[in-house]
């Protein structure tokens, strides 16, 4: 029994990475109506920037995370203002082409800047080690990730429900023409939301740096998982993204424990089952 609970807790920490990346993806879709396939690449850029400040330059981990968020946010700003803005009015196929193009460009760009070889810096001393949970050592780092994930969830709820900016964003999401008519600067909201979503992706990437791997191509892996999660949760629905991150993270961990042979397609089975029962996703409509 203890090992089942322990596995669930490990799954919960996996879920939090998924949550951080899918939160940004779903917010951007909810407001801009853009499926940003390059969102995983923003996760990757966030990881590389954090690696540069923390692993290469040896700056404090917290500072590296903040700088990585700012840097990736700036990249998001350039992407939105310079490129995405031009295709809002036209067919979705162009969004796909443009954002997919960004995946290739950013993958090659990180190869040129940081080289093709993987990077894994040291774990910060204050996050190293483990404590006993259900009779087994549970990593401090995974506990930290769970904490950050929950904080971000609460923070996002407060931001969208309790602040003026949140209300503006929700108004723009539900009817952009009406929002425009009542004096909301819609293009500015779009930029703000895209930058914010990019920073959430970067947060996931930056937090993973000391325990995961930083390498070209990780963005493509992440976007597949994040996309599945937003589809399960209902595209554009933040609560849905949180719940489906938990479902996918925890069930995948149990899949590894109980059905190791099916590891490769377990996440797709979860998606298929949810879509069979609720084609619009868990929380949409």
């Amino acid at each position: 029994m203890d090992s089942v609970l322990f596995q669930g807790l490990i799954g919960l920490s996996m879920a939090m990475y998924l949550w951080l990346i899918s939160a940004g993806l779903t917010i951007i879709f909810g407001v801009l109506r853009i499926v940003n396939f390059a969102h995983g690449s923003l996760y990757m850029v966030g990881a590389y920037l954090a690696f540069t400040f923390y692993g290469l330059l040896g700056w404090p981990f917290w500072l590296a995370i903040v700088l990585s968020l700012l840097g990736t946010g700036l990249l998001g700003f350039v992407m939105e203002r310079g490129f995405l803005r031009r295709i809002y009015g036209i067919e979705e196929a162009y969004q796909l082409l443009l954002t997919f193009g960004f995946i290739l460009i950013l993958d090659d760009l990180v190869k040129i800047v940081w080289g093709g070889v993987f990077k894994i810096p040291q774990i910060p001393a204050f996050l190293d080690g483990a404590w006993p949970v259900f009779g087994r050592p549970f990593p401090v780092y995974n506990t930290f990730i769970i904490g950050i994930g929950v904080l971000v969830a609460v923070g996002l709820w407060a931001l969208f429900e309790k602040t003026w900016w949140g209300r503006t964003v929700r108004a723009t999401a539900s009817d952009r023409e009406m929002a425009n008519a009542i004096g909301i600067n819609v293009p500015r909201v779009f930029s703000g939301v895209f930058v914010f979503g990019s920073m959430l992706a970067a947060l996931g990437g930056a937090l993973g740096t000391p325990v995961r791997v930083v390498a070209p191509g990780i963005g493509a892996t992440m976007i597949i998982q994040a996309f599945i999660i937003t589809v399960i949760g209902g595209l554009g629905n933040l609560k849905g993204a949180f719940v489906s991150s938990l479902i996918v993270g925890i069930l995948s961990a149990y899949g590894t424990l109980f059905f190791p042979v099916f590891e490769l397609f377990f996440i797709f089975v979860i998606m298929a089952v949810v879509l069979l029962v609720r084609p619009q996703g868990l929380f949409a409509g």
């Binding site: 090992s3 322990f6 190293d128 483990a130 549970f138 325990v211 892996t221 490769l264």
Partner: protein, 421 residues
């Protein structure tokens, strides 16, 4: 007068016909502008250092061979391509290298999955590929010995080293009874684990195989795999993810306190330079408590011969890195090509294969002997514990366990090993 014309004509003849020949430069005796060798490896993602090392090994061999006059007077050219660790890309690259670029030979390839997909295509392209890392036994046992695809030659030691050497070492550890695997979820991880189980069971009927967790390529977090197998309370772990994924896995296992709970962790290919660099600080702090065992297809600190030491020095000077095994196996492949072409005096596949027969060649990694039945080069590599050695900036394999190659290579005729999970 007539005689004068005769002399003049003779001089003219000599001037026109003989002098234009390039003075003193050896001409390619095979009638090609250059011998072209296509090189492939994984050069992006967590496994990228392997492709990089393959490229470094090939480049160094090219420089040395060309500086010494080439092969039968022919310069060699190489073209490196990233196979992205994907079967489709490897096959596509092979087709491009042969049909468009005009490769006479190919070398490299990291993943067994890529190698198995390329095998039948090589027969169609009629070009020999010298495999320098891909390790599934099926490449040589099935595709060569059984299906007679003569275009496959393997220069690196196959999965025998990862699986059978591990069994030979741990059969003598009676306290280790419960084994679990964290496996790379493809051909290589599956056959390594099955071969290990089959071999160990023969020596130690008392051992149990208590758990398995399988991780596909590009797994970014092994925490669920580690906790899943640790739930079975194993005495030892047999682990096959490699390169950057091995580093990540071992470090994620460390923070789950795995090394306090087990007796041994066998990391197949953990003797790879990129892995040793990645876990250097943990080894320095002795966080594995001497329980981390690893193997490789060549290690730079063995054999302790003047040839190997000199090669490692040249490599360090050229690339400012220690050579990984994929560098040594690829470097050696080019010298094997040189020896075979010089013997057969041809670039024709069938004749070069004839030229390989009976070959015994000294490489940095020691003596390699060509085995015709499965076209596998047989040579020896030890396994050992991951330790620090003051002579090197990064950890090395120490406490070496050296077995005779004949004791851990499988021999024809081959009996099948289970290839499913």
């Amino acid at each position: 007068m007539k005689r004068g014309i005769g002399i003049f004509s003779a001089l003219l003849f000599l001037t026109l016909v003989l002098l234009p020949a390039p003075p003193a430069v050896a001409q390619c005796q095979l009638g090609v502008p250059a011998i072209k060798i296509g090189v492939q490896g994984a050069a992006s993602g967590p496994h990228a250092d392997y492709g990089r090392q393959i490229e470094m090994g090939a480049t160094m061999a090219l420089e040395e061979i060309n500086a010494a006059g080439g092969i039968l007077g022919c310069k060699i050219e190489i073209k490196f391509m990233d196979d992205e660790n994907k079967a489709a890309t490897g096959v596509k690259n092979a087709r491009y290298l042969v049909t468009e670029w005009g490769a006479h030979f190919m070398v490299g390839t990291d993943s067994s999955g890529v190698a198995m997909a390329m095998g039948p295509v090589l027969a169609e392209l009629k070009r020999i590929h010298f495999f320098t890392h891909a390790a599934t036994h099926r490449l040589t046992e099935e595709l060569v010995a059984d299906k007679k695809i003569k275009e496959i030659v393997r220069v690196s030691v196959p999965v025998y080293q990862d699986a059978i050497v591990a069994a030979l070492i741990f059969k003598d550890r009676p306290e280790i009874k419960r084994w679990a695997t964290i496996g790379a979820d493809y051909e290589y991880g599956v056959v390594a684990w099955n071969m290990f189980k089959e071999t160990l069971k023969r020596y130690r009927p008392d051992v149990e195989f208590v758990g398995a967790a399988w991780a596909p390529f590009l797994t970014l977090d092994f925490s669920p795999h580690v906790s899943a197998v640790m739930a079975q309370k194993p005495d030892a772990i047999f682990s096959t993810p490699w390169a950057g994924e091995a580093v990540m896995l071992i470090r994620q296992a460390l923070i789950q306190g795995v090394f306090d709970q087990i007796q041994a962790w066998w990391q197949a290919m953990g003797g790879s330079v990129d892995v040793l660099e990645g876990i250097s600080s943990e080894v320095q702090r002795d966080r594995f408590k001497g329980k981390l065992w690893a193997t490789a297809r060549y290690i730079h600190n063995w054999p302790d011969t003047p040839e190997n030491r000199a090669w490692v020095e040249r490599f360090k000077k050229r690339w400012v890195r220690l050579p990984n095994y994929s560098a040594e196996t690829t470097y050696s492949s080019l010298f094997i090509i040189k020896a075979a072409v010089e013997k057969s005096r041809s670039l024709d596949t069938a004749k070069v294969i004839e030229g390989l027969k009976g070959m015994q060649i000294k490489n940095p990694g020691g003596l390699r002997v060509f085995r015709s039945e499965d076209q596998q080069f047989v040579y020896n590599v030890p396994a050992g514990r991951v330790v620090m050695d003051p002579k090197y900036p990064i950890p090395v394999l120490g406490d070496l366990k050296i077995f005779d190659a004949k004791d851990y290579y499988r021999h024809p005729p081959f009996t099948p090993v289970a290839a499913t999970k």
